[in-house]
């Protein structure tokens, strides 16, 4: 052994290669973190204030005598707990997040800087209009961008997520039907088999029944079948474009015309707007209502990183029914229309269906989205859409040699694979996804859309560089080859490098433990 003067070995030739369990259960920086209730005792506290003296309780004997049961951690313990937990999380800031239909793109730091400006960040929602003109202008300007990008005359800014935006659009459709006396007869909503689950859920929430529009063999809406389903009982359709198979609905104009001819409305699910923003105006396609996920297309944080925001654009036919509150501008001064009555007075023929939220929407997301739009410009937004589509097609083209695409031809912003390439290997989609975790990737969307067997839906977004995409594709290609080489056992065992191995989903669903209960002895104290 080579020694230096202190006797400290400097070479690693004797290092054992096998992994030995550690005493703590920790694996170097991978800490086995207890629950917060188990870290601190119930008597501890992060603030050290003296008990007040000479101040008798004025609760008249009603004061609590038992332990309240809140975790008592010091500040450093609290910091460590949450930082350790955060390090167990996979995030877009750590690597590609290829979840299809989720558009997990980079959240530019400029957005964060703008959102944290005290004039925006510290604003109270009840601030008088005269003192928050800037914030109202942001809402108005963002609304203007959204109307321009979609080619639609009106926008409801208050919906707080994609599904909330869907609800807004469907409530506007319902209100329009009620206004013309059709609500009692037009009770059916049609949605494709490949629809996001929120579409039929929203329709049912609004009191409609839902029927499935079959797909044709190219993965798109079967126009002939749709036409047969249309009739005087149809309130409207809910179609995503590009759809969840990553394909542009080429017949979209004909679909819209057929629906309008039958007296129905066209709700477009805007979840995949990222693929066409700046390129196609949904208003030109005959859309009556569409939500826009600011937390996807316009790069505000998403998926545990921040709240959603789902402004909903409305056609001229639905605009009179838009929810309150909304912002209006007159001679450079901005004001809020807060009530249905005010809406009626302000806009000709306005019959707002009411209010969906307590306040004006997700202000923090508005500032971020507007910052993204203004820093990119209209040409930059179009470029982002182009790059997102290019990246998805690059991934599809590279993976085609080992994996099977669900449909032929080019895709839009996401590439859809099925599990035919795993046939007879003993490996299933879920095993493939778990093996990706060991490779350091968040898996793609699995088993969705439902129209494809063992679906794997990859959406790289425009954020990824060619180098990153190549590494990702190389990893997937090597996994596909390994699966085909008969190494099913390794896949069934995955993940082996994650903090936890594969979870027993069945047991979790059949016997869920929904509440932590303290160890008996401690609780009794």
């Amino acid at each position: 052994m080579t020694m230096n003067a202190q006797g400290r070995p400097t070479r690693s030739d004797d290092v054992a290669t096998s992994e030995a369990p550690t005493f703590t259960g920790n694996k170097a920086l991978q800490i086995e973190e207890d629950l917060i209730f188990e870290v601190g005792d119930f008597n501890g506290t992060g603030v050290d204030l003296p008990e007040p003296e000479g101040a008798p309780s004025r609760l008249g004997g009603m004061e609590r005598t038992s332990v309240i049961g809140l975790p008592g951690l010091s500040e450093p313990e609290t910091m460590r707990h949450y930082v350790r937990l955060s390090q167990k999380n996979y995030a877009i800031d750590m690597g590609p997040f290829p979840l299809g239909s989720c558009t997990m793109k980079h959240n530019p730091r400029l957005n964060e800087k703008v959102a944290r400006m005290p004039g925006f960040a510290d604003l109270h929602p009840l601030t008088p209009e005269a003192q928050c003109q800037g914030a109202l202008e942001v809402i108005d300007a963002l609304g203007h961008w959204l109307k321009e990008l979609t080619g639609m005359p009106a926008v409801a800014m208050s919906p707080k997520a994609g599904a909330h935006g869907e609800l807004c659009g469907m409530m506007a459709i319902k209100a329009a039907l009620e206004a013309c006396g059709d609500a009692a007869t037009r009770t059916r909503v049609l949605a494709p088999e490949s629809a996001h689950g929120t579409n039929p859920a929203t329709a049912v929430q609004c009191g409609f029944t839902v029927d499935e529009i079959p797909a044709d063999k190219t993965g798109r809406v079967d126009l002939a079948a749709l036409k047969e389903m249309l009739g005087p009982d149809v309130a409207g359709i809910m179609v995503t474009n590009p759809n969840t198979c990553g394909l542009f609905e080429r017949d979209i104009r004909a679909i819209a015309d057929a629906v309008h001819e039958a007296g129905g409305y066209f709700y477009c699910d805007g979840a995949n707007f990222n693929a066409i923003a700046g390129k196609v105006k949904p208003g030109d396609l005959g859309v009556d209502a569409m939500h826009i996920n600011l937390h996807k297309t316009f790069s505000t944080p998403h998926g545990g990183g921040g709240p959603g925001s789902g402004p909903t654009v409305l056609s001229a036919a639905l605009a009179p029914f838009a929810p309150v509150p909304y912002v209006t501008e007159e001679n450079g001064s901005f004001s809020l229309v807060e009530t249905r009555r005010a809406a009626k007075e302000e806009g000709e023929g306005a019959r707002s269906f009411g209010r969906m939220t307590a306040f004006h929407g997700q202000m923090g997301m508005f500032t971020r989205a507007l910052s993204y739009m203004m820093s990119h410009g209209a040409d930059g937004i179009a470029q982002a859409a182009e790059d997102a589509v290019l990246n998805a097609n690059y991934v599809q083209a590279r993976l085609k040699s080992e994996m099977t695409t669900a449909f032929d031809g080019y895709c839009m912003h996401e590439a859809l694979f099925d599990d035919r390439f795993l046939k007879d290997t003993g490996v299933e989609t879920i095993d493939f996804a778990k093996a990706m975790i060991d490779e350091g990737y968040h898996p793609m969307t699995m088993y969705f859309p439902l129209v494809v067997h063992g679906a794997m839906l990859i959406e790289p977004t425009e954020s990824e560089s060619k180098r990153e995409l190549d590494q990702f594709c190389d990893a997937l290609l090597s996994l596909a080859k390994r699966a085909k080489s008969g190494d099913a056992g390794a896949f069934k065992a995955a993940p082996v490098h994650a903090p936890r191995r594969r979870l027993d989903e069945t047991a979790a669903a059949r016997k869920p433990v929904l509440r932590w209960t303290p160890p008996v002895a401690e609780a009794a104290e």
Binding site: Y447, T506, A509, R510
Partner: protein
């Protein structure tokens, strides 16, 4: 005893030969496709359904699915044992883990359904 199947993977068989009560459930194939069943919701006795109506819900680790009434008629009894222990559906879908017993209002509907051989051919497609 003849078992009849629908394209949506429900089965129907007479409780007793020549009797007017029929046992309804989901096929063994459907149970396999669903994966581990974790939740079952059944209609109450006395409810009536038209053929094709949503009658019950079955939820597995993979998906939630509606179970359609394979025939029109009235529910005589629901098998609450599978509500308490959904795993039984995976163990014995076409036996002890039946869903409901129904009294059909139009027994002729049964004639339009697939027999065992036709269903086997259908799922092999």
């Amino acid at each position: 005893m003849t078992v009849r199947y629908t394209k949506d993977h429900e089965y129907v068989r007479a409780e007793t030969e020549g009797g007017d009560v029929y046992i309804v459930g989901i096929s063994k194939h459907a149970a396999e496709q669903l994966g581990d069943v974790v939740f079952v919701e059944l209609p109450d006795a006395g409810k009536t359904f038209k053929k094709g109506d949503d009658m019950a819900v079955v939820e597995s680790v993979k998906a939630a699915s509606d179970v359609y009434a394979p025939i029109s008629g009235e529910i005589v009894e629901a098998n609450n044992a599978i509500v308490d222990e959904p795993a039984k559906v995976n163990e014995d879908a076409e036996g002890a883990a039946w869903f409901v017993k129904m009294k059909p209002s139009d027994p002729a509907e049964l004639d339009a359904m697939m027999d065992e051989a036709a269903y086997a051919a259908f799922i092999a497609e």
